[in-house]
């Protein structure tokens, strides 16, 4: 299995795409509002975050929250409640703006001191028939430059993140394809 997996899970292996795991971890590091948007508290927190300054309003608009100021005002004063479609839009806009705001700081920390050590926990083979199981080891590596990864993550570019991450794991050696899907990717920032 030297390169990309063609049909992941055909024999029962379980895992997620490495780049998804990286995005998940970066989201975890970026922190933010955890209360769901469907709850009043979570909604108001997101709306405040997106409308606090003129800059954040502009960022929200660019992130796809294209409602009029009048509507935003009504939502903030709780005269109206956003529709379910708009709730989703608010959540997506919040996530994107948050990522963009955090990205420069996160990038600085990840690149500092010669990069960040990344742990790669291999895919789960417990459901794979015995004779098809392969020895896939836990690996660690140091990633020096995070610019492309963080940039793709901040702009929500899944394909770009995938490509950037693949360029990183190629450094694992000829068996890098085994690490395209993983159970977890861990690093600190």
């Amino acid at each position: 299995m030297p390169e990309r997996t063609i049909d992941f899970g055909k024999f029962g292996a379980r895992g997620i795409k490495g780049s998804d795991a990286v995005a998940r971890k970066l989201d975890e590091l970026a922190d933010g509002i955890v209360t769901p948007v469907t709850v009043r508290r979570g909604l108001m927190a997101r709306l405040h975050y997106l409308t606090r300054t003129e800059h954040s309003r502009r960022a929200a608009r660019e992130a796809g929250l294209t409602v009029t100021d009048r509507t935003l005002k009504a939502w903030l004063e709780e005269k109206r409640r956003p529709s379910n479609a708009n709730l989703e839009r608010i959540d997506a806009a919040y996530r994107q703006v948050r990522r963009q705001n955090v990205a420069p700081y996160l990038l600085r920390r990840l690149n500092a001191n010669g990069g960040t050590r990344v742990e790669i926990h291999p895919l789960n083979q417990s459901q794979v028939p015995r004779q098809l199981q392969r020895l896939v080891e836990y690996r660690t590596m140091n990633v020096r430059r995070w610019d492309r990864i963080v940039e793709a993550w901040a702009s929500g570019d899944q394909q770009g993140l995938d490509d950037a991450w693949e360029d990183v794991i190629v450094d694992l050696g000829s068996q890098w394809g085994q690490y395209e899907y993983v159970t977890n990717i861990g690093f600190a920032a």
């Binding site: 590091l29 922190d31 955890v34 926990h121 977890n184 861990g186 690093f187 600190a188």
Partner: protein, 504 residues
């Protein structure tokens, strides 16, 4: 004709082989010349491990043998003092002492005895010493130090001076130490940090301490990295974590029950008693020695407990019938039914259900998340901290003491899902270490009970209230194996009231 030439050459080669001294003598000679195995190996064109093998019994052959014999002859000629006369008796003793303990080796050249410092002819388990205690003459304090020092290798700086002192008195020095020894161990890291902080704040103790406490977590992580250098197992800091170990909400708790003791004896024995509140020193520091799962936790179902693995287990705890005199080992649990406990709690329950104690039935294990475990993962880390703590106590160094305390306590409390320490994400370890502290306290309560003390209260990680002469059972002090008194108070009903005595 050419055939016969070849045969002649072969016959010549078969001729008498070069004589080699005994394996120990070979090593002795090389060490006396202060040559490393690598140096010898390079010269002879073999690998260092081969030289090591020759020195532990194997014999080289042919050409190499001749070269080696030549080298040893040359060395022997240089160091004729002692070696040649002693070589013969050494041979005799080798044959005579064959049936004796094979760890005892006789020495060609006498080496200073590690116990008394005067020359000894034998080496036991790598240490030169007298076989007969009568030969061991009383020693000067400096030479008596080495065995003690060898046991605590964690602090090389303090170890260096005493070992260097007897070296001067040796007639022919047998270097028992490695050529390149690391001078700055993990223990030195703590001392250096404290000194640097004190220097930075120009001796202002409060300011230095505040600065040190602020950086305790990153420093603990650095110390951990330092102590894992060259270690067998890697610290896996970000494994996949099963849902039971994840917090349900940001402020909430996960599903693990740590078995924190919170128990007060319901009825005291009749009469008034002097109760002593004992405090266990460095409970979390001692608890760092526990079975920690190394890698990612794997799910299993079933009743068997594998001693080589550790993790968290879903168990149905056994009924506890000794609640009147001893706390329940699973703590103050209100809800019945199965619960997730960690490895130390399970091991405690299994131990108590064993034939030695037989205090309860064995727990029923339903599910487990475990991984291969070792008790030594944080051992060097713990020893480094413990040594720093002991030194600080001996020197009455409050700054180091507080700093060390902050290091281990914050290390334990932030190793889970904490934003203060993102380097390590092991909620399982956090729970296991805490449970180990609680289990340790529980075992202390049992010890007190078995020795005839009345256990009145077991609380938190380090609080144990007892009635009776506890000095028989525990030693008082500030070390981690000792206890200190927090408080003494009187409790119980007055003698005027006879009712409880009749009820009992």
């Amino acid at each position: 004709m050419s055939d016969f030439d070849a045969i002649d050459a072969l016959l010549a080669a078969v001729g008498p082989q070069a004589e080699l001294p005994l394996p120990e003598v070979r090593r002795e000679l090389r060490e006396q010349a202060r040559l490393s195995k690598a140096q010898v190996a390079r010269t002879l064109g073999v690998s260092p491990s081969t030289v090591g093998a020759w020195e532990s019994g194997r014999d080289p052959a042919d050409e190499i043998r001749a070269k080696y014999a030549y080298l040893l002859d040359g060395l022997a000629a240089k160091f004729t003092t002692g070696t040649s006369q002693e070589a013969a008796p050494a041979e005799d003793e080798e044959e005579a002492g064959d049936e004796a303990d094979d760890e005892v080796e006789s020495l060609a050249a006498a080496e200073p005895c590690v116990l008394c410092g005067s020359p000894a002819g034998h080496r036991v388990a790598g240490f030169a010493q007298h076989l007969d205690p009568a030969d061991c003459r009383p020693a000067t304090p400096a030479t008596a130090a080495p065995p003690d020092v060898a046991a605590r290798t964690a602090v090389p700086p303090t170890a260096a001076p005493p070992t260097a002192a007897p070296a001067v008195t040796r007639p022919a020095r047998g270097p028992a130490k490695r050529a390149f020894q690391e001078l700055s161990g993990p223990g030195e890291l703590i001392g250096r940090t404290v000194r640097a902080a004190l220097a930075e704040h120009r001796g202002d103790v409060d300011a230095a301490l505040a600065a040190l406490l602020k950086r305790a977590i990153p420093d603990a992580m650095r110390l951990l990295d330092e102590t894992r250098k060259g270690a067998r197992y890697d610290i896996v800091a970000h494994p996949w974590i099963p849902d039971i170990l994840r917090k349900q909400t940001s402020r909430g708790a996960d599903q693990i029950w740590e078995a924190r003791p919170k128990w007060t004896r319901r009825e005291l024995p009749p009469g008034r008693h002097e109760v002593t509140a004992l405090d266990i020193n460095g409970a979390y520091l001692s608890a760092l020695k526990t079975h920690l799962p190394l890698g990612q936790l794997e799910h299993t179902t079933g009743f068997a407990h594998d001693r080589r693995r550790a993790g968290v287990h879903l168990i149905t705890p056994p009924a506890w019938e000794h609640g009147a005199v001893l706390p329940n080992p699973i703590g103050n649990r209100d809800e019945p039914g199965p619960l997730w406990v960690t490895e130390p709690t399970l091991r405690l329950l299994l131990r108590l259900s064993g034939p030695k104690h037989a205090l309860c039935a064995p727990p029923e294990i339903h599910e487990s998340y475990t991984s291969g475990a070792t008790e030594n993962l944080l051992e060097k880390f713990r020893v480094a901290l413990k040594d720093a703590r002991d030194t600080a106590i001996a020197e009455d160094d409050e700054v180091t003491l507080e700093y060390v305390k902050a290091m281990y306590s914050k290390f334990v409390s932030t190793m889970g899902e904490s934003n203060y320490n993102r380097e390590l994400y092991r909620p399982d370890w956090m729970h296991i270490i805490r449970s180990q502290a609680f289990a340790n306290l529980w075992m202390k309560a049992l010890k007190a009970h078995d020795e005839g003390l009345t256990v009145v209260r077991a609380m938190g990680t380090d609080e144990l209230h007892v009635i009776g002469d506890w000095h028989r059972v525990f030693t008082e002090g500030r070390g981690v194996t000792e206890v200190k008194t927090k408080d003494t108070y009187t409790a119980g009903t007055d003698d005027t009231e006879d009712m409880p005595g009749e009820e009992a």
